[in-house]
Symmetry: C2
């Protein structure tokens, strides 16, 4: 009798924001990086991708729907994820004849972000982490998060770090086949649970130079980049792990800011130069500097990915000073949670004006957990995309 | 009989805009740089400092008036210039008793720029070059421009390059006393007379971080800077001299742009980061890229000093394409000379809009000569500052 069942599994996966940045591939096909990196996984209560993976003999072909739009899945990266996951499922089926032959069925994946795509908010990281975890759940693979991170990495490099919660390293590895280039837990979220992040969304427009293309231009043309990957990042990795393990915020913050600066410096040194930060981003840096100066110690750290949004890391105990300074200026911007006070006189008036004009929303979040299995499905029991 | 005469001499001196940048001192007292640099001397028809140096027994104390305001001359840099020049004059007087004892008289210096001070237009370079040359003229020193450049360097590092016209290198030297850190002619203006510069003045406001302070912060904190001074700049020096000697504009342009990018990358990598360029500067880069793309070859090069102004180098033969693209957008901005056409459709509309909003004036100029002795005095025969 033919298997007419629709198999389903779901997961959510988090965004991660690097504090030691990934920028540069040594192998573009396998997404092998020129350097290791470290990120903080952000809470899924605020930012997450929700993905349902399903398969059925009735499905004609593999498909992926992202935020209501059918995605092109013919790309090598998505295909690599599908192929790797199917191979693992096929191995299980080969060793246990009782298992349904899911590896032979077409996959239907539906995915939704609760934040704008491609605005520099690491949506591809959460997206590929969720894709891989959802299919792994569907296939009931026994693989560990580190094992799955090897697959997610082939979809989008930084996605490998979203397989874990808390504080996560991506060890670059040195094998040519990439089998040792994967995510590694530095510390659980519970080790340092008071870490918070305030995201200043400077633009929700699609960015100019994609990070995939940008980082390869940097590798090919920046004269300063070699120094970053050979000396700066290895030093930052050691210091950052130490800062996290010892919950040393001042050290964590300084390395975060310096590493972000170093990354954007290499972008500016690319030929032609790549600029992800704009005048609003630079005003956010000045704001963080003012907050720290006012506090007389480092209580806030800025970092920027491949876009103008500023992520400000701070600790729960300093929320009054950090959030207060920003909400004084950005109080009428959407995204503030209840109970945020306001601190006048911290930000320079020019800085405040640029932020007021350029920040379109804020997101208040903090360190969080890795992918969470869910029964909230975006595909119904008949294999139809659920109406929402 | 007492000598009651007022002795006067005058000079003009040019601005120079580096194509391989000076950034970083290995000795802050002597203004010894971490790397060599190369600049183009700009025409004094458009940008110059006019300085009159005078001395008389009647003058009570040394003074310097700059653009109508008395300057503080107590700083070590100005004092070093006065001291060095007086010592040279004193040596002449010691060997020839017939010479008036100018070295014992107070100096009165009056200086005027025909462009805004401290707006990133290298005013200190022209200013110190003029100061040194004017006093050298007053003292009738036999020193060569290279000799005088040693003195001007102690006033403001890049001033040493304004003692020559044309294409000028500042050889960093390696002696501890700085006696080999001086300007050197790469080629006369007449060697490559078709070099032009269009300056897009993005702001005439005083800049935030002075270059003196900024470059020392970079030396102290940028992890990438070492690579710049040890490898990038030495390579650029060799390539740039070759490009100039062979009048190879495409090569000249690429090194100019890459070196400017590398310098600003090191500023961005400074902790805390230094940003001289703003969104207007970045739009100017995109404009130059569009002009080159449209031409199908490199006919324009951008470079930025320690401020947001863009200097665009191009050749006279390409003025139609280069000036035309900018004047289409900036036609109503002041500073255009007669006969500039306009080329539509070259610049992206977003870029054009940012330039229109942010460029306050343009300056059209080109390669020019070094200091020129003048009888146009800012101090009258009685030693009074001339009313103008």
């Amino acid at each position: 009798m033919a298997d007419t069942k629709v198999y389903r599994a779901g997961t959510t996966a988090p965004v991660n924001i690097a504090v030691v940045k990934y920028w540069g591939k040594r192998d573009a096909k396998l997404n092998l990086p020129t350097n290791s990196s470290i990120s903080v996984t952000l809470s899924q209560a605020d930012l997450r991708t929700l993905t349902t993976a399903s398969c059925a003999t009735a499905f004609a072909e593999d498909s992926l729907t992202l935020n209501g739009e059918l995605s092109d899945i013919s790309g090598a990266r998505t295909q690599a994820c599908f192929r790797e996951l199917r191979a693992r499922r096929a191995a299980l089926e080969a060793s246990n004849a009782a298992l349904p032959k899911l590896s032979t069925m077409a996959l239907k994946i539906v995915s939704e972000n609760n934040f704008p795509t491609a605005a520099g908010l690491a949506s591809s990281a959460a997206g590929f982490a969720a894709l891989v975890q959802a299919i792994a759940n569907l296939y009931e693979l026994p693989d560990s998060p580190a094992d799955l991170s090897l697959i997610a990495r082939q979809g989008s490099g930084s996605a490998c770090r979203s397989l874990f919660g808390g504080y996560v390293a991506w060890r670059m590895g040195d094998k040519a086949d990439g089998s040792d280039s994967k995510a590694d837990l530095v510390a659980e979220a519970s080790h340092w649970p008071s870490m918070r992040a305030l995201i200043l969304v400077a633009s929700a427009a699609k960015k100019g130079v994609s990070s995939t293309s940008g980082m390869q231009q940097t590798v090919a043309t920046s004269g300063l980049f070699k120094e970053r990957i050979e000396r700066i990042v290895p030093d930052n990795m050691i210091s950052m792990e130490d800062a996290i393990l010892n919950r040393n915020f001042a050290k964590f913050a300084e390395i975060t800011m310096r590493d972000s600066n170093s990354f954007h410096a290499c972008c500016a040194d690319t030929f032609p130069p790549i600029f992800y930060m704009n005048d609003v981003s630079r005003a956010a840096i000045r704001a963080v500097e003012s907050i720290n100066a006012k506090a007389g110690k480092t209580i806030a750290a800025y970092t920027f990915d491949a876009g103008p949004n500023c992520v400000v890391y701070y600790l729960e105990e300093d929320k009054g000073a950090v959030l207060g300074a920003f909400s004084e200026t950005l109080g009428s911007t959407s995204g503030w949670k209840a109970g945020v006070g306001s601190q006048s006189g911290v930000l320079d008036e020019t800085v405040a004006e640029i932020l007021r004009d350029g920040v379109t929303r804020v997101i208040m979040t903090g360190v969080g957990e890795g992918p969470i299995k869910t029964d909230e499905f975006l595909i119904d029991a008949n294999g139809e995309t659920a109406k929402r």
